[in-house]
């Protein structure tokens, strides 16, 4: 019976993680004091919930072996290897096994499809960039687009591209431009594209789960702050703040822009202008929380 209780506990953990806890985490202000650790916390919440859900399914499926979780799972694998994995399987066992296996397969499938789709979109973007970019003078290590709108972005990949437009060059002073390029370099060096990748996949698939709705946006905002911190190490944070305001207000398009407007820009400006931008204590707390969130379901499974 104890594995059924474990299954219930694991389900409850997964539910709390992707539900109330995610909603809460998206609202707490202190995480901005250590964006990197906060991103790790978001990642461990997602990973932990996935492990707990699969663990719950497995618990139900291996209860019949009466050998605990680890012993039961190894018995299940022995059965798989011997070619009769489903012998003696009752309805709850089958349901549990299906849940665990399905979740595993679905997550793997989505991961592959997201990776392929993203890689294709990036390859096309990179190809078009190499065809239409201009050779005019520009900050070193960047690609320039001859376009009047002010944009600056990082195209992630094996060799990330930092793209700025002619409009950006015209809009910003040299200090500001250097800070913006350093910000984008931060995205490239810290491989933020790889951090967003799994979240994009999750957002598509589990739209009814609060985590999938709030995590991508929250993490995107945190990654911007992490890149801001990177730039602020070598440049005046006030230059970056000025650039941020100029860029964000340069292309206000009244009706449709509201849909994609987010609170991240005002928050980032505020953050850059404050001295207490980052806190070691918050970083330690968030890292500890990330470890604990992962450890709870894992230790539960091992202990049984």
């Amino acid at each position: 019976m104890s594995l059924y209780i474990a299954a219930a506990l694991l389900s409850a953990i997964a539910f709390v993680l992707v539900g109330p806890m995610s909603v809460r985490l998206a609202r707490v202000p202190w995480v901005t004091q250590s964006p990197r650790a906060a991103v790790a916390l978001w990642q461990s919440v997602g990973l932990s919930a996935a492990l707990a859900t699969m663990g719950a399914g497995l618990c139900v499926a291996v209860e019949r072996f009466h050998a605990g979780f680890i012993g039961g799972v190894s018995d299940l694998f022995d059965g798989l290897v011997d070619g009769h994995p489903l012998s003696g399987l009752g309805l709850p066992d089958a349901l549990g096994l299906t849940l665990a296996a399905d979740l595993g397969v679905v997550v793997l499938g989505v991961a592959i499809s997201v990776i392929v789709r993203t890689a294709k979109a990036r390859a096309r973007h990179r190809r078009l960039l190499s065809l239409v970019s201009t050779d005019e003078p520009r900050p070193s290590g960047t690609v320039m687009l001859d376009h009047a709108s002010a944009v600056a972005y990082c195209l992630p990949g094996l060799r990330p591209r930092i793209v700025i437009s002619k409009g950006t060059m015209g809009l910003l002073g040299s200090d500001e431009l250097a800070a913006v390029v350093a910000h984008e370099r931060g995205h490239a060096i810290e491989r933020h594209g790889l951090v967003m990748l799994p979240l994009t996949g999750v957002a598509d698939l589990f739209r009814w789960v609060p985590y999938a709705r709030v995590a991508p946006k929250a993490v995107a905002g945190l990654l911007e702050m992490a890149a801001d911190d990177h730039a602020a190490r070598h440049h005046d944070p006030r230059s970056l703040a000025r650039a941020l305001v100029s860029m964000a207000t340069s292309s206000i398009t009244p009706s449709c822009a509201f849909a994609i407007a987010s609170g991240a820009v005002p928050q980032r400006v505020h953050r850059l202008l404050n001295e207490g931008r980052s806190s070691k204590r918050v970083a330690c707390l968030a890292a500890l929380a990330a470890g604990a969130v992962l450890a709870i379901p894992l230790s539960l499974m091992v202990a049984l």
Binding site: A121, S130, T249, P266
Partner: protein
């Protein structure tokens, strides 16, 4: 690799300059005097494979044309960069998203306070 990229760009430039009239491989090669005809043909095939160039056959002659204008591709990049594309986050990480009009005015105030602050400290 960088050399090939440069060459693809030159070939596309030739085709973009002649959007109204598809060119034969020979005509493209003639406009790139420092490149061999066979090299140009290889590049044209590569670009066709990437769906950037299309080939039409008129009799025995193959003619090549850009699938879309330079401006169209530029627009595609800018749409992704300024992005309402839903999976934009998968493609790139952008410096600053557009803000609402109200946020803009708050930000401008913050900016003014900032420049006043720096003036104060410098005097």
């Amino acid at each position: 690799m960088a050399g090939l990229g440069q060459l693809e760009r030159k070939v596309m430039d030739v085709l973009w300059d002649s959007m109204d009239e598809p060119l034969t491989g020979r005509q493209v090669a003639d406009r790139l005097p420092d490149r061999a005809y066979t090299t140009v043909l290889t590049i044209l095939e590569r670009l066709r494979h990437k769906h950037l160039v299309e080939r039409t056959a008129a009799g025995k002659v193959h003619r090549f044309a850009a699938v879309a204008s330079r401006e169209t591709y530029m627009a595609e990049l800018m749409v992704e960069a300024l992005g309402s594309a839903r999976d934009r986050s998968a493609v790139l990480v952008r410096f600053a998203e557009t803000v609402s009009a109200r946020e803009a005015s708050v930000l401008r105030e913050a900016l003014e306070a900032l420049s006043e602050g720096s003036d104060g400290s410098s005097t």
